[in-house]
């Protein structure tokens, strides 16, 4: 409720080929010592980028201004910190395409209106190669048609139905939806023996 439908995201892509990227790498814990999410983009992949000495994809000028991050498998594993998608969003990413995503990360993305879609490994490889060759091209993540388009072709994309419908319906900000249940919340609670201490 009150959130805008997310039907299609298009923009330039950025390719991050490493698998199993955890949320500690996306945003190291020592930068979470604050009570808001403001300014988190400054610390996005900060340690990986320092170690890559300018060679990290996020510092590659060919990918500058990219809004679609293309990743490998199990992206966003580990800590539940919403600081991870927040820092990616504040950097400018609006959608993620990968082989697979960790569950809590994916849920956090949906709650921020950021789609995560998966491709077959071969298609993902083709997409990555295409972006690497022509980083200026426009990539489109189409939730309605369930596909990802780039210059070399259109690939069928998978997305969990609940995530897809919440984004398409504009109900990804769940608070309002949950509150609509009204008294059904209290009556569910009343049916649980532990609520009143047995």
């Amino acid at each position: 409720m009150g959130s805008d439908p997310v039907v299609r995201v298009s923009g330039r892509g950025c390719v991050l080929r490493t698998h199993d990227i955890d949320t500690d790498r996306i945003i190291p814990a020592r930068f979470m010592r604050q009570v808001t999410f403001e300014g988190l983009e400054k610390y996005l992949f900060v340690d990986d980028r320092a170690q890559a000495k300018g060679e990290h994809p996020l510092d590659d000028e060919r990918f500058e201004g990219a809004s679609i991050l293309v990743v490998g498998r199990n992206f966003g594993c580990g800590s539940s910190r919403e600081h991870a998608p927040q820092s990616l969003m504040r950097h400018g990413f609006r959608a993620f395409v990968g082989e697979s995503f960790a569950e809590i990360f994916l849920g956090n993305c949906v709650a921020l209106g950021l789609p995560c879609v998966t491709l077959e490994p071969a298609d993902l490889g083709t997409l990555m190669d295409s972006i690497d060759l022509e980083p200026a091209q426009e990539i489109a993540v189409d939730l309605e048609r369930q596909c990802v388009r780039c210059r070399v072709g259109t690939f069928a994309a998978q997305q969990a139905e609940d995530a897809r419908s919440r984004l398409l319906d504009g109900t990804w900000d769940a608070t309002g939806v949950l509150l609509e249940a009204g008294d059904a919340i209290e009556s569910t609670a009343a049916g649980l023996p532990y609520i009143e201490g047995f």
């Binding site: 500690d24 020592r30 979470m32 340690d47 800590s79 998608p85 956090n108 900000d173 949950l178």
Partner: protein
Amino acid sequence: MGRSLLDKVWDLHTVGELSGGQTQLFVGLHLIHEVTSPQAFAALDQQKLRVRFPERTFATADHIVPTDSSARPLQDALAEAMLARLEQNCRAHAIQFFDHASGRQGIVHVIGPELGLSQPGITIACGDSHTSTHGAFGAIAFGIGTSQVRDVLASQCMAVRRPRVRRIEVSGALSAGVYAKDVILSIIRRLGVKGGIGFAYEYGGDVIDAMSMEERLTVCNMSVEGGARVGYVNPDERTFDYLRAREFAPKGAAYERARVWWTSIASDPDAQYDDRIALAGEEIAPTVTWGINPGQNAAVHERVPSVDRVSIEERAGVEEALAHMQLRSGDPIAGIPIDVAFIGSCTNSRISDLREAARVAEMGHVATGVRALVVPGSQEVFRQAESEGLHEVFRSAGFEWREPGCSMCLAMNPDKLVGKEMCASSSNRNFKGRQGSPTGRTLLMSPAMVAAAALRGQVTDVREIL
């Protein structure tokens, strides 16, 4: 057809079905801490919403608390601001806060069980991925992000998809010197760090049945490291005995009624599962990670794997891991030198963990050049350990004895690795930079194995010492 515990708990807590097949699930217990809650309260205030069931949310401070001095204001102004904000939010919304002065402060996944808040058959949510820990009681416990913390505060519900259930049966018995930590590391090695995506793990079999509640907490804690957001063990007599007389557990006649319900909530003998996996307890050895995710592990008598012998899929990950860890294919696991030893974290900081580590510590002294820390999981664990004299055992063996907190598991407080230090750690994550230094290196293992490594200055099979 029989039903699993997950089926039963799910159905009882379902408020309604949402679009796309998600469930609106009632949350029986909500635990919060200082890192992932402030932005949720801010959103609540901004939308002029109240906390729907303030008596079902409990708070503590764990991630940022220093373990050398709890004096206020905290030395780190950023940490102090986070702690102060949590106090403010709890006061404003009438939420019970287990702060340092309460004597009940500790790591959120340690105090929930010890206070009797975590109970069979309930749903639990907390803005922390290791919430799976509480599944040890036969609860369905979810790690959630900050937006969902806001949802739970506002509605006591979460929007979530029902997971499939994988039964993981660990048969037989563990040999001496093999612990719950070794069991879960072996499970993750077998099923992979993403093998559990979309699944809840139900742990069972003779090995799990024979485990204490604290050991089951260790196993369930690391479910999420295998990709499973939820992990649980069916409640049994051991669960009920543990809960008897705990502060928030039912007492007297209510306890007897609760037992009947708790028993009924366990998986039926003929429950249907979406998948089943079996492991033999006898085949599990003391286990150590050599890489940068918890699945990259081996038995202590094995060697770092050869890059040529892993699947093509895994090769890049192994190469990256070895480069970061500065280990070579074929290096024996035993004998890897360490600089730091850390005993603590929501995985292994409970009294039984400290007792096992102390048994080893008693046999020697921390090796020259090794910095060794023991950080109990809660003030309760701290007091119990001191009453047993464990702190003296640790101190006289050269370990530092600290106050409770998350500490060097994720280094949000001053406890950090420096430079490329190699740390034998009883925590749950060996991710790059996890312990506070971007180039720091982590070897995950059981607390007894950490103590053994501390004494010898290198990874050591604890069975040689015990």
